[in-house]
Amino acid sequence: MKQSRLFPWIGFIFGAIYFLVPLIATFEFSLRMQRGIYSFKAYQVVLADPGFQASFSYSALIALATIIVGVALVVPTAYLVQLKLPRLRPVVEFMTLLPLVVPAIVIVFGYLRMYNSSSWLPMTGSARSTDLLLIFAYVTLSLPYMYRSVDTALRTIDIRTLTEAAQSLGSSWPRILIQVILPNIRVGVLSGAFLTFAIVIGEFTMASLLNRPAFGPYMQLIGANRAYEPAALAVIAFAITWACMGLIQLVASFSPGQKR
């Protein structure tokens, strides 16, 4: 092997060990619930737990709502900024990055101050309105990823000419967005959606402080009280994240109207 190839390989092997060893160890540990033999007992226990099912479906539902609200907010914004207000782009980009800078715990304390039950907008007053608050919080949290994916996708198509072509054919703004722009940035929107899903499923701080029965707090609860199940849960969470990444790849390669 040539000298120049050696260092990248060492780097790669080191990275792989760093990443894989804990994962393999966790997986191995999760199989040892039954004394003396490897089994998927821990997984059976976890999957059969009504708490798991309830919290997972709650989080999945919240994630879906987050994606819908996020797409409805981000796509028109990114589109209009690129088309009409290109000078505002750095400002908008900076704003979308804020959630990465401001810790989730700070955001949620801010929410609790703003929207507590004795404020002018008591969103934490009932469970449903707190769910709504949680969804908005997650939209904020996933904004950097969603905006970036959508913005990048918009840059790969000539939105100005496509918009003008549609306009000259008599099309109105909503139709242009839904029938012309959205389908052509589908890949970007979907990868933003899967990233959002992965983030929401694993999120702990906000759900916990807003006291919602989400998957993150459930994992924490199990982790604090059991031995083998947390390992199984960690592997499941990893599998979900990877499934999301795999789906991003999949949709990117199956999209009509684009070269494969």
Partner: protein, 356 residues
């Protein structure tokens, strides 16, 4: 009254005025070309007609109706872009059907119209393909069909052929013209290619720096350019700078040698600077007798082009290019050789405006 009338329109972007009081009247069914160098405001005019830009001042009327402030989707104008701009996520048929669906036409009407349009552009077999599966020329034909499907009042084409290679460009321009004739649709075509403009148009509108320099038939524009700009932009005219020595008799001095025009120079007084143009095909080599003009110079450059040899003859300040046929038995022209060029009095085109 003209079908499309553009009245004294101006467009200013910030401090830059790119269209400066343009008047243009396009008759129903006419094919007019805006011809001019990059940045002269052709696209801006087209975009104002389409409604993508609002004129800073002036009026645009279509069929007598003031459309100056209408939105693009209210104008019923078909537009074809240089970059094709087909919707990548839709098949060819869906692209063509888009405007019809927007207009809520019935399914059967849309289907028959799409079929009709595909036949018009001679591509009936590509209905179910996606744009990326078509060649550039085919994509542009589909874009044309899409624009025409909605039966627009006016068709606008902004350099639709510039992205294509030379052969396709020539065949497609004939095709566009044929379709335009067949439908009798009023059309404005933008290009900076003079050959394209001359070969396709009913009338050509030569533009420079936001103004119309000359509007006329291709024949008029090519044979009787009015300004130095038109003369140099359209065709390969030779332009000579001179001074009037006798206005009434049409005598002009060019680099110390006198030439005479067939008509007198009205209103010119002795010593006025002016510019005249000579078409290369009007020039011949050798001294001619009678009333012809002769200019003596030296050969400056020789380009052997095969059947034709293009030579450049320099006088003092001015120079002219002319083509001679290649003659294998005669000695080829050489640089530095003295030469006399002759041309008829009626071949001199006196250009308007100050020479520069």
């Amino acid at each position: 009254m003209a079908f499309l009338s553009i009245e004294r329109i101006t467009k200013t972007f910030g401090t830059l005025t790119t269209v400066k009081g343009v008047d243009l009247a396009v008759e129903r069914g006419e094919f007019i070309t805006l011809l001019g160098p990059s940045g002269c405001g052709k696209t801006t005019i087209l975009r104002m007609v389409a409604g993508f830009e609002t004129p800073t001042s002036g009026t645009i009327r279509i069929d007598g109706k003031d459309v100056t402030n209408l939105k693009p989707h209210q104008r019923n104008i078909g537009m074809v872009f240089q970059a094709y701009a087909l919707f990548p996520n839709m098949t060819v048929a869906d692209n063509i059907a888009f405007g019809l669906k927007v207009a809520r036409k019935s399914g059967s009407e849309i289907a028959s119209r799409v079929k009709e349009m595909l036949e018009l552009i001679k591509l009936p077999q590509v209905a179910e393909r996606y744009p990326y599966q078509l060649s550039g020329g085919q994509q542009q034909r589909v874009a044309l069909a899409r624009a025409l499907a909605i039966k627009p009042q006016i068709l606008l084409l902004d350099e639709p052929l510039s992205a294509l290679d030379a052969k396709i460009r020539v065949s497609l321009r004939e095709e566009i013209r044929a379709v335009q004739r067949q439908l009798g649709i009023t059309t404005i075509f933008v290009t900076h290619d003079q050959e394209e403009a001359l070969s396709m148009s009913d009338r050509v509108c030569v533009m420079s720096e936001g103004r119309i320099e000359q509007l006329g038939t291709p024949f008029e524009i090519y044979n009787y350019p009015k300004t130095r700009f038109v003369a140099s932009f359209v065709g390969t005219l030779n332009i000579l700078s001179g001074r009037v020595s006798d206005g009434a008799e049409g005598r002009i001095v060019v680099d110390g040698q006198e030439i005479v025009t067939s008509r007198g120079l009205n209103g010119a007084s002795t010593g006025d600077a002016l510019a005249v143009a000579l078409r290369p095909e009007a020039l011949s080599i050798g001294r001619a007798n009678g009333s012809s003009n002769n200019l003596e110079g030296t050969i400056d450059e020789v380009h052997f082009l095969g059947s034709v040899v293009r030579i450049r003859v320099r006088f003092k300040e001015s120079a002219v290019s002319l083509d001679t046929f290649n003659r294998p038995n005669a000695a080829p022209p050489e640089r530095g050789q003295p030469i006399t060029v002759n041309f008829g009095r009626e071949d001199i085109l006196v250009l308007e405006g100050a020479p520069n």
